[in-house]
Symmetry: C2
Subunit: 351 residues, 2 copies
């Protein structure tokens, strides 16, 4: 069965579509494509994510996003061929873990435009079962990377970094991923670069050890999981405090890069992994990978591409796999990761 | 298969649950129960239906209503026995016919609490297919009351009155149902009575013919279908204008009662029905029924109970039938009623 997975994250970059082929337990990536949001779409999403809005704005945006998702899938299918099922995460406009969550992007519109069944709205059922409604990808990590004897850790370095310990299914945010590095890079390049391509700026800077030690003293890094790091934790305020040190920006970028790697290593080490499998934007940053290797001697370092999973496509691909599970009437939350009372079948099916 | 249908309308009275048994083409009503909304629930729904709100309020209410729906279904099942499928209309908090629509009441919560699959969110797919997303009940009218030779009209007298011509499937709002009578009755009884029980007040009043003629001159009643009457069309302003006539309230109630019957008759007569099958609250008002009989000589007058469909349960029952259609992967919109380009499978399935 050929399945498309559609993901659009809170960074509002745009819509990622991954197309996979599922043959029993074998999963093959067929293709991956990103469609950026227009500035108008980004503004409309931010408007309803703010404090006050109108029910009309949400209702309209729900249908508009459905059209955008449909077009992104159709674009990917023109390039990679047709699919028989679509899994769409939707755009999160509100999330209170364990209490409620709201994703929009009307799946009935996607189903009608494409003529293909759509599974959507994956998080509410886990919350109804007592879970946080997140994270959902660790289930897919266990499915993709499970090994009979080896302990593996799937590491995703997005804005925030998170790990899934396999096979135990323990999953949590380790701390910053790229978002501090990205913010400092935008500052350093006057907005010309959105991220530190392959860690080049970090490589020119100098690690400031006292600053790193101070940052790593944050009790978050020592707290036992489950735990999750909000985007606000490493947002504008965090970056402003770094700049107050007066250090040159390349040094700050170098230090933030080591902070990402060090906090990941602190989180991973207690599980004594045999292997670390990296995905997400951070997998392109060889500085982060080099520091990880140094901090975790004896741990084999791989990127998910080594296992046939494009590092950029993993999240979108995950929602294709979750949709397939639902289609087959199989549960796909991981209670060890979300805190749910039991495994449940996620999502809503639009025929 | 035993199926529960859950309906809560814009009048915010509460949650109606109908339980039916479907055996091939035979549909039997097992039971019907209403659970009123608490004043707090009613206030919360009104708050998000108003001009400005917060995304948080909508997200929270979505989950809270899910819990209320689940409890209403569980209460009905304790009385009438278990069900294998639930169809839940949800609470409409925004609707722009043909463009977008927003029903809340998280179906994942209902499915999780009851352990029974839930079909929800029936309207968006019809809109995606170019329809108005309403009315959806005419499809069920045709299914329930279709006859090989007779032309029947299913008439529902709720706040607004609407008819479905069977078998043609033409369906539209005829004008006021009970809402003008209800408002005048609350006024006359200082809020002690919410409706004119069995038309008793109307029976004591005197029809004012010139006023009736003036009201019937509204071009709405002569306009060709498709057409729909908003609740605002017969709301506070309409009632205020009636009171400005200075006529005694029982006379106004009598005249409003005849207006309801006359506008229905004007809408129904051109289709030359053999039979009129009445449901909704207005079916309890013998004054309306008597006027209908007088205005439509030669048309057999029945209430839906005569066909095994409780007049109060019909809407909730309709969503049980629509859910069953979706479960069986069958379309259930009526393009002649909604304006959709083609029949589509409505709703989202929560397993």
């Amino acid at each position: 069965m050929r399945v498309a997975g559609v993901m659009s994250g809170t960074s509002l970059d745009g819509i990622d579509v991954a197309i996979i082929e599922i043959n029993g337990r074998r999963i093959t990536t067929i293709g991956f494509q990103s469609t950026p949001y227009s500035p108008a779409a980004r503004r409309a999403i931010l408007a309803v994510s703010n404090t006050t809005t109108t029910t009309a704005a949400i209702s309209r945006l729900n249908f508009q996003l459905g059209e955008l998702y449909a077009r992104a899938v159709q674009r990917a299918c023109r390039r990679y061929g047709p699919v028989e099922l679509i899994g769409c995460h939707g755009q999160t406009i509100y999330h209170e873990g364990g209490a409620n969550t709201l994703q929009i992007g009307e799946a009935a519109v996607i189903a009608e435009r494409t003529g293909v069944p759509v599974v959507s709205d994956f998080r509410p059922r886990d919350i109804a079962a007592g879970g946080q409604g997140a994270p959902l990808v660790p289930f897919v990590d266990c499915l993709l990377f499970g090994h009979p004897r080896r302990t593996r850790i799937a590491l995703n370095i997005g804005g925030i970094a998170n790990i899934t310990v396999i096979p135990s299914g323990i999953a949590f945010d380790t701390g910053p991923g790229n978002m501090v590095i990205d913010a400092l890079t935008r500052e350093y390049t006057n907005g010309r670069q959105k991220f530190d391509r392959n860690g080049r700026i970090a490589a020119q800077g100098k690690l400031n050890r006292p600053l790193l030690d101070r940052l790593l003293a944050d009790p978050y890094y020592r707290r036992q999981p489950p735990k999750s790091a909000g985007r606000e934790q490493y947002g504008a305020e965090f970056v402003a405090r770094l700049k107050q040190t007066g250090l040159p920006l390349p040094d700050l970028i170098a230090t933030a890069t080591v902070l990402t790697a060090a906090s990941i290593a602190m989180a991973a080490a207690p599980f004594h992994p045999d292997e670390l499998i990296v995905s997400g934007g951070g997998a392109h940053n060889s500085q982060i990978l080099a520091h990880l290797a140094a901090f975790l001697p004896g741990v084999a370092l791989a990127i998910s591409n080594d296992y046939g999973i494009d590092v950029d496509a993993k999240e979108a691909l995950a929602f294709a796999i979750l949709a397939y599970r639902t289609w087959r009437r199989k549960p796909s939350n991981l209670p060890s990761a979300t805190g749910a009372r039991q495994p449940v079948i996620l999502g809503k099916i639009n025929l």
